[in-house]
Subunit: 275 residues, 2 copies
DNA sequence: AGCCGCTTGTGAATGCGTGCACAAAATCCG
DNA sequence: CGGATTTTGTGCACGCATTCACAAGCGGCT
C-alpha cells in the first residue's frame, strides 16, 4: 500500500500516454488505489470516479469533443459504433469506457448525445470552472495566454507570471503579468487549480515548487524536464522534443523494415495477409 | 491475425502516450505486428528495433535528455538507480528499457554516459536529421517556427504553410510561408519526414491528407481533432484541451476523496513515504 | 590471486488494458 | 402481442507492461 513511486503523469500518454502526453503516458500510470471500501455496483457514479482507468479518462475527453461536434450537426442519439469510429477507437473499448461512468445508453438505440455529454462533463469535473495560471510568457506562454478562454470554455486563465522585469505589469491577452515570486500568494488568493509551466527548463522546477506552495495540485508542464513533486500533485507533461523523437523512431523503424523487406523479399509466403 | 485495428497514436499517451501519449501516453498503442515470421530471440538489436515497446521508446527519449544534462555536469558514468530517479521511473524499468536496445552497461559500475547517449540516439534514429514542416502559422505555429532548430537539434524546420494569403511569402523564423496547396509538392521535394499540424481543427484533416500525399509518414497533430490516416502513417497528438480535462478530472477526484476522507475521517494512516 | 561488494541484465509473477463474443434489454413491425 | 432486430453492457481471455528478485559479472582491495 505504500507504493508511493513517483512516476510523473504521462504517458504517455500512453499517456499517454498521452499524450502525451503521455503521458504521459506514457503512459499515464493510474494510482493503485483500488479496493478500499465499497464494492457496490450502483449505476450512480458518485464516488466511483476513482475507479476509472487513466487511459479511459483521456479517451472520455476525446469522446466529449466528438460528441460536441455531433451535437452541432444536430445529432440527437449516437451508437457506440458511430462514436467509436469518429473517435478512432474500438467500439467495445468505447462502451467499456462509458460503462465506467454509468449506464446511460438505451439498448437497441444508442446514447443520447446531450445526456452523454453532460455525464462525461460531470465526471471530468467540467461542470465548474478550473482556474488556470500560466507561468513563462515567452513564445509559447504568449500563445497560451492569448487563447483567452483556453481550449473550449471552462479553463479561464486568471494569472500570468514571468521573471522578466520588462514584462511585469504588461497586459497579455487582457491580463497583467506578475512576477514569479508572487506565485504562491496569487495562486492561493485566486484559488488557481491548474498551473501551466511554459518556462525554460532551468526555471521549471523552481516554478513548480512555487505553484505547489500556492496550493496548486495539478500542473501541465511544457518545459523539457522531469519535475519532482510531492505525491499529491498531478503532473502532465507535453514534451515537443520527446514527441518528435518518438516519431523519429518510427521513421527509423519503417526505414529498417523497408530495408529488410527488400532484402528478404520473398520468404515465408505462407501468410497471404493483405491488410 | 488480421488485427489491423487502426487506433491512432497514443492513448496517449500515456500516453502514455499519450502516455499521453501517447498517450500518448499513455498511451501509445504499439502496432500488433507480432508473430508473422520470425520468433527469434537474438540479443543483437539489429532488427529487434520493432520489438521495443512504445512506452519504452517514450522513456528512452526522457533518459536521453537526462543523460545530456548529466554529461554537461561532467558525469562519466551513471548507475541505473541514479538515472532512474532523475528520470522519475523505477530502476528496474529503466534497466529493462535499456536492455531492449542492447547491453551497454558494466556490472558493478553502471553505464558510460556518452556510450549510452549515442546508443539511444542511434535507436531513436537521431543520427540523421529529420526534416520538419509546420502547417498553420497562427499563435502556436509561430511559436513553433521560431524555435528555429526545434527542441534540441536534429529537427530542422524546412517548410512552413498556411492558407492566409497575407502570410504567404512572409518569412517567419527565417523561412518563407507557402500556401497549403503546395504541401504535397514541397514536402516531396524537400523530403520532409515529419509534419506538424498547428491549424484550426476544421482544416486539420485536409492538411493531414495533403501531407500524406507529400510522402510524410509521421504527423504531430496539435489540432483538437481525431485524424483519420492510412495505416502506414504514424500520428502523435498533443492536445491541450484534453490534457486540461484530464487534470480537471484529477481535481474533481481529489476533491471527492478529500470530501469522503473528511466523512470517514480516521482510517488507514499508513504511508509515511518521503520519496 | 582470490574474495567482496556493487550493479547490471533478465526470468518470473502480477496487474492492467484491450478486444471478443454474447446475454440482456429495448424498439419496431407484422 | 410476440418475434425479429438492433445495440448496449460485461464476463472472459489474452497480451503487454511493470515490478520483483536474483544470478551473473565486474572492479577493487587485501
Amino acid at each position: 500500500m505504500a507504493r508511493v513511486q513517483r512516476d510523473g503523469g504521462d504517458d504517455s500518454a500512453p499517456t499517454t500516454e498521452l499524450p502525451a502526453v503521455r503521458d504521459q503516458d506514457p503512459s499515464a500510470v493510474s494510482e493503485p488505489v483500488t479496493g478500499s471500501v465499497n464494492g457496490r455496483k450502483v449505476p450512480m457514479a458518485t464516488d466511483k470516479a476513482r475507479a476509472i482507468p487513466e487511459a479511459a479518462v483521456a479517451r472520455l475527453a476525446v469522446y466529449l469533443r466528438v460528441l460536441s461536434g455531433m451535437a452541432e450537426q444536430g445529432a440527437v442519439t449516437v451508437s457506440s459504433e458511430e462514436l467509436a469510429t469518429a473517435a478512432g477507437v474500438n467500439s467495445a473499448k468505447l462502451r467499456k469506457d462509458l460503462s465506467y461512468i454509468g449506464t446511460y445508453g438505451t439498448r437497441g438505440v444508442g446514447y443520447e448525445v446531450d445526456v452523454l455529454t453532460s455525464e462525461i462533463e460531470r465526471v471530468l469535473g467540467l461542470t465548474g470552472q478550473q482556474k488556470v495560471a500560466v507561468v513563462g510568457i515567452g513564445n509559447l506562454g504568449h500563445a497560451l495566454a492569448n487563447y483567452g478562454g483556453f481550449p473550449g470554455r471552462g479553463f479561464p486563465v486568471e494569472a500570468l507570471f514571468d521573471v522578466d522585469p520588462d514584462l511585469i505589469g504588461i497586459p497579455v491577452g487582457g491580463l497583467p503579468v506578475n512576477h514569479i515570486d508572487d506565485i504562491p500568494d496569487i495562486c492561493a488568493k485566486r484559488k488557481i487549480a491548474i498551473g501551466v509551466i511554459a518556462t525554460p527548463p532551468t526555471a521549471a522546477q523552481a516554478v513548480c515548487d512555487r505553484l505547489v506552495d500556492g496550493g496548486v495540485h495539478c500542473v501541465l508542464n511544457f518545459a523539457p524536464v522531469v519535475l519532482q513533486v510531492p505525491e499529491h500533485v498531478e503532473v502532465r507533461k507535453v514534451d515537443l522534443a520527446i514527441e518528435l523523437q518518438i516519431l523519429s523512431f518510427h521513421v527509423a523503424r519503417n526505414a529498417e523494415q523497408r530495408a529488410s523487406r527488400r532484402a528478404a523479399a520473398a520468404r515465408a509466403s505462407s501468410n497471404g495477409e493483405v491488410v
